[in-house]
Symmetry: C2
Subunit: 324 residues, 2 copies
């Protein structure tokens, strides 16, 4: 009997298919590739496939009981954990693709430099075709950063900042523990008030949980020194947006960059759009890149295909009851 893999993805380039072909040949599988337009053909193929590599909730719902492994090309797999009976085969293995820290960290470095180098102000000068260029600027080199959230994203950010010569990187995490090689100091959330008092640059990458909603409250924003910067790539709900806007428009904070907001999409009439020294991006920090993220996504799938064929544990394994 043929063992089939149904692959329904928008991002595969020829060299990715070559990687998958090689891993499949090695393990006795036959891969079938479908573009996003070929949905009907993909669903037909899924009926006799043992493995699905995609990111598509309805397709998972329509998979037969014979599906044994669903590799989701996204990191976030809550839809597949929350919905009872979404897998007709209750033992179907779920894996996710934890490859987005690198692209998010590049986004964080970009907006951090834009803030430190006063790009929101220079972009206004350039839009008016002006030539003023004497604004005092700051550097990452020799600067200090507080990373609120020390997971995959925080760790990749810490690596990049260290490589650029940051003088001190403080991690703040729920447990108060984090990779000691990446942070000079690590504190639990209970010490956050104290840490904020000397934080020049705050980088937030917290997940959206009951504990993180409103964590950067009005009171905590007030604790930050004059002229501090804030970057948020976690969840918009983590920040008291009203208080943030007041601190930016009033000049207490020197600038902020938000890739996440509450709500998303941000309504056209929302005052965040016009807040001073604020860089807004429409939730793009984790977007898959043409380079690293795609290659790594496929590499992880191929490695797990070999694990799967050999009966070994899968690197991307998700406990569907726990949700991660």
């Amino acid at each position: 009997m043929s063992r089939d893999i149904c692959i329904y993805l928008e991002f595969l380039e020829p060299h990715h298919k070559a990687m998958i072909d090689a891993a499949a040949a090695k393990t006795g599988f036959t891969p079938h590739y479908f573009t996003i337009e070929q949905r009907e053909e993909a669903e037909k193929c899924l009926q006799h496939s043992e493995i699905l590599y995609a990111h598509d909730v309805p397709m998972v719902r329509s998979a037969p009981e014979t599906l044994k492994w669903y590799c989701c090309s996204y990191a976030g797999v809550d839809p597949y954990c929350k919905e009872d009976g979404i897998f007709r085969n209750p033992d179907c293995i779920l894996t996710n693709s934890n490859v987005y820290g690198v692209t998010i960290a590049e986004h964080v470095v970009m907006v951090t430099l834009m803030l430190l180098r006063r790009m929101p102000e220079y972009e206004k000068i350039v839009a008016d075709r002006g030539w003023s260029n004497q604004l005092p600027i700051r550097s990452i080199r020799d600067n200090e950063f507080t990373l609120l959230g020390t997971g995959n994203i925080g760790n990749r950010v810490a690596e990049l900042l260290r490589g650029m010569g940051a003088a001190k990187i403080i991690g703040v995490s729920r447990s108060g523990k984090a990779d000691a090689a990446l942070y000079e100091e690590v504190y639990p959330i209970s010490a956050l008030d104290e840490v904020l008092k000397t934080t020049k640059n705050l980088i937030m990458s917290l997940p959206g949980t009951a504990e993180t909603v409103g964590i950067l409250s009005r009171e905590r924003i007030a604790l930050l020194p004059e002229g501090a910067y804030i970057v948020n790539v976690g969840r918009g709900t983590a920040i008291d947006q009203e208080a943030l806007m007041e601190a930016l428009n009033g000049g207490k904070l020197a600038g902020a960059a938000l890739d996440v907001m509450d709500p998303e999409p941000l309504p056209a009439e929302h005052p965040l759009w016009e807040t001073k020294n604020l860089i807004l991006t429409p939730h793009v920090s984790g977007n898959m890149t043409l380079g690293y993220t795609r290659n790594e996504n496929v590499r992880l799938f191929c490695a797990d295909l070999e694990n799967y064929a050999a009966g070994r544990p899968l690197a991307g394994y998700v406990d569907r009851k726990r949700g991660y």
Copy 2:
């Protein structure tokens, strides 16, 4: 007799003065500090000073024959080399402050990420309060870069790109030689045509000399692959701007970032202002930062003050006949 240092600078913070005070005490000098507003007092002090630490052409012209060392806080010292008799003391030592590679390299990383991550397009979407976020983006990680110019700036850029996981960094220099630890391959200018044919990201940091004017000609822009990016932080004259604008507006190039243009300031009616996918900044890449650049500037002066007092060669020494 008192040995005086006249210090006429706009950027000194209290901890910088403390550093200079300590080095002066150690070497038997008395520093005198003047703000930019205290020009008259500074010129008076200069009449009995052995050393001047500043960046001011008229002040050097007005210095007496007793001035023995002028430390220029800028890197560019051509005005002091080109003008005959600018130093009344023909043996006055000239030093410069080669500390700007770090800040320029941070600028290069910022604009490179802005290009790879499509920020010119996202900024338009955000300006219109839109929420589209599916533009294909690229990463520095695993990407390839050609650095045209492998001096202090190119080397610092190479260090940062390597730290961010670049797959390949090619250096192109006049001599065809460069620090082997920083570049996978190094070529002389004579090989530039061949190198450009496979260059995805071109970063230019050449000085303005007879050899570099027009070096990125129309013909060479045509050699670049479709979708390439260009960053220039050297001199505006190095690029055929007409050809660059055509390649950007026509979509052959994916984007460019110019911190230098020809002429500067760019006239209000110049078509560069409205060129597609072009990030313009008003010659800010080498601006002194509140962190690293200032500290390093003062550190180098203090180190050379100790060298000077001990009769050792000075680290920032400039051969005024050669010009660097």
